[in-house]
Amino acid sequence: MTAPEGILCSKSHEYVLEDGSLYTIGLTDYAVEQLGDIVFVELPEVGATFGKGEVFSTVESVKAASEVYAPIGGTVVEINEKLVEAPETLNNEPYGEGWLIKVESDTASLDSGDLLEYNDYKEELV
């Protein structure tokens, strides 16, 4: 699994990737590996706003329901509808087709202060 250039990761295993004026948020490969088979993804509605650290999604694996925390604050402008029908996409391509939401954020640069670059994140896991 190769992570895209420029992603920033939280210690709770979410990532954020700047994408033009928007930010794409998802779960890291480590997170989906730990969760195992994902069977349902509950996403917020477009227009919902949340602050850094708030729960914005729940991912259900065979084992358990896991909350997903916002790595940066923002307003949801797009959700990945594909995950409703094909939640396993999140297991297969966490950085590609398996993204969760795209947000607008005025606070991204401030909020991302404690996020880690991918290589540092991987080192933290060891």
């Binding site: 088979d37 349902f40 729940t58 259900e60």
Partner: protein, 367 residues
């Protein structure tokens, strides 16, 4: 600090993800829970369940002592037969659920839940006064492997135990596998045909390796606790701590079938259990299927006609059915029956579920 079974290192080598369970570090899955689940339903899987407890009860009052402990008629057991039982308290609540095997006259063998070994032994000692019995907790000396699935019997034959020498369902036999004397029981926790192999600790790794080697041609995989949970729930087999505890009686738990209604001997909780059999219970266990794609989980609230009527005790996505299944205790007075549409509260929203007959997936273990 969690205990480890003697197979811990072998499991890690096989790629197991280890998690704490009942004070033990156990494999939750090796590859993928859904694949492991289908492997047991279609072929055969190997489980390490060495965390479970083994207790021998012997002495001239062994039968009378066991009769006092469980609502089942232990006197009906003939040597090498087994019966599913509950250790009940004075209120008819379940201290543990267990299997009692009769080995010979005055000698019985119990397999109990890992999380309940200490409670069970304490309870037995408290009940021991006046009975000439020895309660011998051998949990630390035995390992237990489960070989489960439609190809389990063929695999056992390949391992040198001929079909005619294999015990029938809910029977136990001594056998020899790869030069090791073991006890072979035709029991399990999956709803499939299968065996549990009771092994003196020092041979645990020997037998584990041998099962894996001989199992290759049958498609055998090692199976973790994740698939053990989905398999047992599809078969609607209770999990102690979720579906059963000291406040639930066998009758509430839907285990009246296992209780000996005409047992003459007194046993702990008998008056409560007989009264519940005669007059009914205030809550009962039901099975349900979610009508949405969201799994119900342990402790979620259950609603019916806008009223809270109970709680989910177990819930998983069923790999066999592709639906979300679960068990819940509901108030009997709410008149919930098979076919009723109930609601489960999930993250502050109510989702419909349909009450269905148990088991969710037909059992294929009666051989």
């Amino acid at each position: 600090m969690c205990k480890q079974t003697l197979l811990h290192d072998k499991q890690v080598e096989l790629g197991a993800k280890m998690v704490p369970f009942a004070g033990w570090e156990m494999p939750v899955s090796y590859s993928n829970i859904i694949e492991e689940h289908h492997c047991v339903r279609n072929d055969v899987g190997l489980f390490d369940v060495s965390h479970m407890g083994e207790v021998f009860i012997s002495g001239k009052d062994a039968l009378a002592f066991l009769q006092k402990l469980v609502p089942q008629s232990i006197d009906k057991l003939t040597p090498l037969k087994a019966v599913y039982c509950q250790l009940t308290n004075d209120n008819g609540g379940i201290i543990d659920d267990l299997i009692i095997y009769k080995l010979e006259d005055n000698k019985y063998f119990l397999i109990v839940n890992a999380s309940r070994i200490d409670e069970d032994i304490n309870w037995m000692i408290r009940n021991q006064i006046g009975y000439d019995v020895v309660i011998d907790n051998q949990s630390h000396n035995y390992s237990l492997l489960a070989v489960q699935g439609p190809k389990a019997s063929a695999l056992m034959e390949k391992m040198g135990v001929k079909k005619d020498d294999q015990p029938p369902f809910f029977n136990i036999k001594s056998a020899n596998i790869n030069g090791v004397d073991i006890w072979l029981s035709r029991t399990g926790y999956t709803g499939e045909d299968g065996f549990e192999i009771l092994i003196p600790n020092k041979y645990a790794q020997n037998i584990w390796d041998y099962v894996i080697e001989k199992g290759q041609e049958f498609g055998l995989k090692p199976i973790g606790l994740g698939a053990r949970d989905t398999l047992r729930l599809e078969a609607a087999l209770h999990l102690y701590g979720n579906d059963l505890d000291t406040t639930t009686s066998p009758i509430e738990a839907g285990l009246a079938w296992s209780v000996s209604k005409n047992k003459l001997e007194d046993y702990n909780g008998k008056d409560v259990i007989l009264s519940q059999l005669a007059n009914g219970v205030s809550r009962k266990l039901v099975g349900f299927k979610m009508l949405s794609k969201i799994p119900a989980r342990h402790d979620y609230e259950v609603y019916y006609n806008d009223e809270i009527v109970g709680k989910v005790t177990s819930g998983v996505p069923s790999p066999t059915l592709g639906e979300n299944i679960g068990l819940a205790y509901v108030k009997t007075s709410s008149n919930i029956n098979i076919g009723s549409i109930i609601q489960v509260m999930i993250r502050n929203k109510l989702y419909d579920a349909k009450v269905v007959a148990r088991p969710f997936v037909a059992k294929k273990n009666k051989v």
